[in-house]
């Protein structure tokens, strides 16, 4: 595929608001996770919570007000992203800029609050609960489209934890097909009791802080994030999307293929689409959730395709697993690493599991990078790998 320029990008997560906060957290090796609880959760676990989501949305978007859309708004406000999109709108026209925003949670916290109100008051769900603008998976894509004043092709991608990697693939396809000239892509997922208690029911949540690839890892820490990027093929910018690869494990609904079959196919497809060899990739931002089986399966796939020496790490020790936003958050972290020549270590990893044979970074390194691969895999056996690079 033709490399696609990424003219602007931004991230908001437990690490802070905007790119500078994320870069600083990576350099300082400072995790955004805390164990002080979330909302009314009584689970003993760590979470990557975004601070400052108490402010309601502007009056014009009153119907859309919920934690997930507030997080989207906070994300859009960083790094001059809204102004950058407005300028792109002038260049291309509103109807020539696509909007693909991913989520897995959408505003389900609003639904939880509505059900609690129903349980205490009886009767019906409360009047203030608006399904279309909060609970429905399209709500955050629609909010983003309306907030940015765009009228190009639009959809929410919702494929669990690969969702917001796949928005890059949808955007690349739409641009290649001539459906649009540019695209806003993003992922927004917010903390809620559904995912906390749900992953807990599957025994995938750690009581400890998330320790990807560690011999003692025992599950994930949940986080929340908003990440956005503006893809503009015609713009002269050093950061590019070089390839995307998608696959299915076709194995199990909530466990990866033990040999990482689908992960291997997704990574290979990204390389093939970019027309590059595995040896040309400098660093892999792993999916690396910190559950025993996920990290092992991904490691098998990475080693089979790239060998054991390629530097890799998961950044989920920093941000927690941000689920439907993980692809977009980790894409922005990968772009930051490319821009600043940074290979972040696997935070919270003390001793690598001896069964994991890849080169898990235990020390952060600085080195010029040309190509970075970012992996995102999800329930249903869905896999997506993105290859980013710099063009000098």
């Amino acid at each position: 595929m033709t490399p696609l320029g990424i003219s602007y990008f931004t991230a908001t997560s437990a690490l802070g608001r905007g790119l500078d906060a994320h870069l600083q957290a990576l350099l300082d090796e400072r995790s955004g996770l805390h164990d002080a609880g979330f909302e009314t959760s009584r689970l003993h676990t760590w979470t990557g919570e975004v601070i400052g989501l108490e402010t309601p949305l502007p009056t014009a978007f009153f119907d859309w007000d919920c934690r997930n859309n507030r997080l989207a708004e906070l994300g859009l406000l960083q790094d001059g992203f809204i102004d950058a999109v407005a300028a792109a709108r002038t260049r291309h026209g509103a109807d020539r800029i696509a909007v693909y925003v991913a989520t897995s949670t959408a505003g389900v916290q609003q639904t939880e609050l509505a059900y609690r109100a129903y349980r205490s008051d009886g009767g019906a769900l409360p009047d203030w609960f608006n399904h279309r603008t909060t609970q429905n998976s399209f709500s955050v894509a629609d909010y983003t489209r309306l907030r940015l004043g765009l009228a190009g092709p639009c959809a929410a991608v919702s494929t669990a934890c690969s969702s917001s990697a796949k928005v890059f693939a949808s955007a690349a396809r739409a641009i290649a097909a001539g459906l649009c000239d540019a695209a806003v892509v993003g992922g927004v997922d917010s903390l809620c009791l559904t995912t906390l208690y749900g992953f807990n029911a599957l025994q995938l949540i750690s009581h400890d802080i998330c320790r990807p690839a560690d011999v003692d890892r025992n599950g994930l820490s949940l986080g929340e994030a908003a990440g956005f990027a503006l893809i503009e093929p015609g713009i002269d910018t050093p950061l590019r999307l070089l390839g995307y690869g998608e696959s299915n494990d076709a194995h199990h609904m909530s466990a990866p293929h033990p040999e990482g079959r689908g992960a291997h196919e997704a990574m290979q497809a990204a390389l093939t689409r970019a027309g590059v060899e595995p040896s040309s990739v400098d660093y892999i931002n792993l999916h690396g959730t910190g559950t025993p089986v996920n990290d092992l399966a991904e490691d098998k796939a990475v080693c089979a395709l790239f060998g054991r020496d390629i530097p890799c790490s998961s950044t989920k020790g920093w941000s927690g697993h941000t689920l439907g936003a993980a692809g977009a958050l980790e894409a922005t972290l990968s772009l930051l690493c490319l821009r600043h020549g940074l290979l972040p270590r696997s935070l919270n990893t003390r001793k690598v599991d001896t069964r994991i044979e890849g080169n898990i970074l235990l020390q952060t390194r600085r080195a010029p990078l040309q190509r970075v691969l970012s992996n995102s895999f999800g329930f249903g056996g869905t896999n997506c790998s993105l290859l980013f690079g710099t063009v000098h």
């Binding site: 009584r42 109807d95 020539r96 909007v99 897995s104 389900v108 639904t111 939880e112 059900y115 609690r116 129903y118 349980r119 019906a124 769900l125 608006n130 399904h131 279309r132 609970q135 429905n136 399209f138 894509a141 629609d142 765009l150 009228a151 092709p153 639009c154 959809a155 929410a156 991608v157 919702s158 494929t159 796949k166 693939a169 949808s170 396809r173 739409a174 290649a176 097909a177 001539g178 459906l179 559904t194 208690y197 749900g198 029911a201 599957l202 998608e246 696959s247 299915n248 494990d249 076709a250 199990h252 609904m253 909530s254 079959r261 689908g262 999800g378 329930f379 249903g380 056996g381 869905t382």
Partner: protein
């Protein structure tokens, strides 16, 4: 807006909706050769799922399989040969209902199976397991415009990525408590297999273009009710032209505002 249309071939069709048990019966009704009675269909057991997954499959997954299996039988090709685009506004609202009630209780006990079935891409996951479908698949949501969003994505996946694709649109009834918030009362699924090159026995060639063509409605009041009642039934005006084997233009609502204009060409 200036853009070249996206061209694809429709190879096969699947449908399951009240009064529309399969494509041959639907075709006759849409051609005006048989009367339409919107009676709910009997429950369906997906044929391609192994017993373990079949037991766990939710109503939305079953509804998606119903049309998807039917389209693949009609195409005569192995289902795993297709990339897949699943599109649904609300997937299984009954799961959200059960989880919402459970979380409002002091014990807060969620069923693990409910939780893994709660992902929007549950049907795509079950499908890939059932057909050993390892090619790319995605799952979209665009509220009432979910059908057109899915059709565009499947068309672009076919044209750009070079995979023939299976499009499956589906939505099932909201549980009682959510019905005032999301008025879906019936189960509908529609499926198309789409090809980049002319298949041996094509149904039609489609040219897709986003513009502001007024949305196409159906003259028959009962069928028009069905079209409006469920996001997956927004496919009906397109299916009507395919049933009539007539060239023409229909428009469906588009998620970005405006509409998706579909020009249908029937040759030979």
């Amino acid at each position: 807006m200036i853009e070249a249309p996206i061209e694809i071939w429709v190879e096969a069709i699947g449908i399951a909706a009240p009064g529309l048990p399969d494509w041959p019966a639907t075709r006759a009704i849409l051609r005006g050769e048989a009367p339409y009675q919107p009676d709910d269909l009997p429950p369906y057991q997906p044929q391609l799922l192994r017993p373990n997954e079949r037991r766990r499959a939710t109503p939305a997954v079953r509804q998606a399989f119903r049309a998807a299996e039917s389209a693949c039988i009609a195409s005569g090709r192995a289902p795993g040969e297709y990339a897949a685009v699943f599109t649904t506004s609300d997937a299984d609202m009954s799961i959200i209902d059960r989880i919402g009630l459970a979380l409002a209780d002091s014990a807060r006990i969620i069923s693990p199976i409910d939780f893994h079935n709660s992902v929007h891409n549950a049907a795509a996951g079950y499908w890939s397991i059932a057909v050993d479908g390892r090619l790319p698949s995605t799952t979209l949501c665009a509220y009432d415009a979910s059908f057109s969003a899915g059709l565009l994505e499947a068309a672009v996946m076919t044209v750009v990525d070079g995979f023939d694709s299976l499009l499956v649109a589906y939505d099932v009834p909201a549980p009682t408590l959510l019905q005032p918030k999301r008025a879906i009362f019936n189960a509908v699924s529609t499926a198309l297999t789409l090809c980049r090159a002319r298949p041996p026995r094509p149904c039609a060639r489609l040219q897709l273009r986003r513009d502001h063509t007024p949305i196409t409605t159906l003259q028959d009041p009962a069928l028009e009710n069905l079209r409006r009642s469920n996001p997956a039934a927004r496919a009906l005006p397109l299916l009507r032209l395919l049933a009539l084997e007539t060239s023409g233009v229909v428009a469906v609502e588009d998620a970005g505002g405006g509409s998706l204009r579909i020009e249908v060409s029937v040759q030979d």
